[in-house]
């Protein structure tokens, strides 16, 4: 959905750019009509013009695109990334990333420029989510940056390793203000079910308090205790119990 929207946006940008280019060059012509220089001694050379197009303007990685350019009154014509080219020509290129092809035509009468953008669709690359439109991003990226914190037996005090996770999580959340988080409190399966629900509440609240102290708005954080009712790991050993004694962060969609 988002990818499609981005593509559409980009297509609009490309179209707008082309229209704008046309408008600018049109203005340029008009300007030359009222150029003070033209009121003086007769011009010795006409101003150069330049256009460049790409077909198609959007490709997948590995596909190629044909650039087609026309210039007038130019002595040297260059395209960034390709180098000096003929005044008029076509060339087949296959860029690996989206590229702006910038053409500069220099002549005695001045300089003209033209642009075309070729969009390259990279197949589902994990991109940093953009947050301007309220997007929380993917769960994977979230969990890479906001890691669960683990607790000692019958304790809800944050350990030093948890403090590291919390500061990392806080900076990620600060950079992504659209994200809301639900903090789940969990316990290993030993002891009283009721006491563990209260303990899980304390654990989730410890993590919440640490995030709030690190600058995350409290209104973005919601706490639910699951006690020992939702076991993450069901074996009876310390490594498994440790995995269950945690405050788990999830996107609050």
């Amino acid at each position: 959905m988002n990818v499609t929207r981005t593509k559409i946006n980009r297509a609009i940008v490309v179209a707008a750019t082309i229209i704008a280019m046309g408008a600018v060059s049109g203005c340029h012509k008009k300007h030359s009509g009222i150029n003070p220089n033209s009121l003086g001694p007769a011009e010795t050379a006409a101003a150069p013009t330049a256009t460049i197009t790409a077909d198609p303007t959007a490709i997948d990685v590995g596909q190629s695109v044909v650039l087609n350019w026309r210039t007038e009154n130019a002595t040297t014509v260059t395209i960034d990334g390709i180098g000096p080219v003929n005044a008029n020509g076509t060339q087949t290129v296959s860029p690996s990333t989206s590229t702006n092809f910038h053409l500069t035509a220099k002549g005695d009468g001045g300089t003209a420029e033209a642009n075309v953008r070729v969009t390259v669709r990279v197949p589902e690359a994990p991109t940093v989510p953009s947050n301007e439109n309220g997007d929380m991003g993917s769960d994977e990226v979230f969990h890479q940056n906001v890691k669960d914190v683990f607790f000692d037996y019958d304790s809800y005090d944050l350990r030093p390793d948890a403090q590291t996770s919390i500061s990392q999580a806080a900076s990620y959340l600060a950079a992504h203000p659209a994200i809301k988080v639900v903090i789940g409190g969990y316990c290993d399966d030993r002891g009283s079910a009721e006491y563990n629900l209260a303990l899980g509440e304390n654990r989730a609240n410890s993590a919440r308090t640490a995030l709030v102290n690190a600058g995350v708005a409290a209104s973005r954080l919601r706490v639910i205790s699951y006690g020992k009712e939702k076991q993450f790991c069901t074996e009876e050993n310390e490594s498994c119990w440790q995995q269950n004694r945690r405050a788990q962060f999830s996107l609050d969609r």
Binding site: Y153, D154, D189, R190, G191, S192, A193, E194, Y195, L197, A198, L199, G200, E201, N202, N205, R222, V223, I224, S225, Y226, G227, K228, E229, E236, E238
Partner: protein, 461 residues
Amino acid sequence: MFSPVRTPTHSRARLPFWMTAMPVLLCLLLSGVSTLHAQDWFKTSTSSGASSIRIAVADFKPLSSDPQTVPFKQTFDKTLYNDLANAGIFDVVSKSLQPQATPGAPAEISLAQWAAAPSSAAMVAFGGFSVQGGRIICNGYLFDAKNAQYPQVLAKQYNEAASEDSARQVAHRFADEIIFRLGGGTPGIAETKIYYVKIAGGTKEIWAMDYDGANQHPVTHLGTISISPRISPDNSRLAFSSLGKHGFQIRMYSLLLNRMVSFPEAGGTNLSPAWSPDGNNVAYSSSRTGDPEIWISDANGSLARRITSFRGPDVSPVYNPKTGAQIAWVSGRTGLPQIYIMGTDGSGVQRMTDGGYASSPSWSPNGQFLAFAWNRKYGPGAPGGQDIYVMEIATKRWIQLTHDQGPCDFPSWSPDGRHIVYASSANGRTAQNKIWTMLADGTQKHELTGVGADMPNWSWK
């Protein structure tokens, strides 16, 4: 009987003074230490002082040829026998020792036959049972076998629509009459219910059953995790805690309307409700302020007020059913959870357990005892397990009721104070829990359910 007595057995020959003095000193030292941890003796209602009454339960006489008479009568006989055997106050004559006769009316019984060895019964329960026109007609008698002149203690007649369930209920009612008459005026528990959590797949629903494990049936169908059922003193409402979108909340089910009724949600985790004995208030754990504390509201959830105020988990409150003026609960304010008691206004906080991991208190109906789950040697690699204990509140002396049957939790007293129901699993896995019952002295343990049953709560009457 419920009186383990310490018997110091130090036999000493004639020895020099210092050698005799040393054991005496040691003895004093040991006894001093042992009062701290001691399994001292005290009496629960199970041991009323008198020895158990020897009672014979005759098979009832079938009094009609209706085809339903025999199967229903067998259900009745079995239920009546088990009720009296489970009561904890009788020495029930084994069926193999008693006369073959099935007297159906007072004129048909030969008391001398029952009073003689090997049955040696002091009391005989007998009667007639028939199904006529779709109804159970049952005449039950209790005779004193040693009183030849005026033997009749009790005579009862029952007339109920015929069904397997009514055959059981009639037996329960007759058993309760006998127990009430012979048990010092304490009503029997044969008509009481046990509410519990049924674990199936990923969900937990609230179920109910008769006190003897019969008639197991679901109460809720919420499709989520519902725990901690607590039945109101008048058997009209069931409070429990259920996982919703915002975590665990107190929920209320009306057993009169057979549907959920509203109870207001509060912030944070809300769990482990407990009824005051007058049914007007509910105490529970709420973390609406960020820390789990004990709160009390009225039965509709209004007028909620906080009772405890200490950092750390506070959970599992239970009222003193005798006075309604005190609450026992579990607090983690000093680390591992311990049992505390306090007034319902939060005053007079007193710690009851001296260490380990203590949870799930249940206050005995006479107000004198707490039953709870306790793991006294909790810690990595330490021996010992989580077992059911009973503590006398006035002295803080305790006894251990379960041993080596796997972790035990959620004790709940029967209304007569003679029984305790609890959950246990041999391998410690919650999903494998079964509900067990025992006498309050730890004897006569037996299972009431199969696996997947947890958190039993015995009705108040």
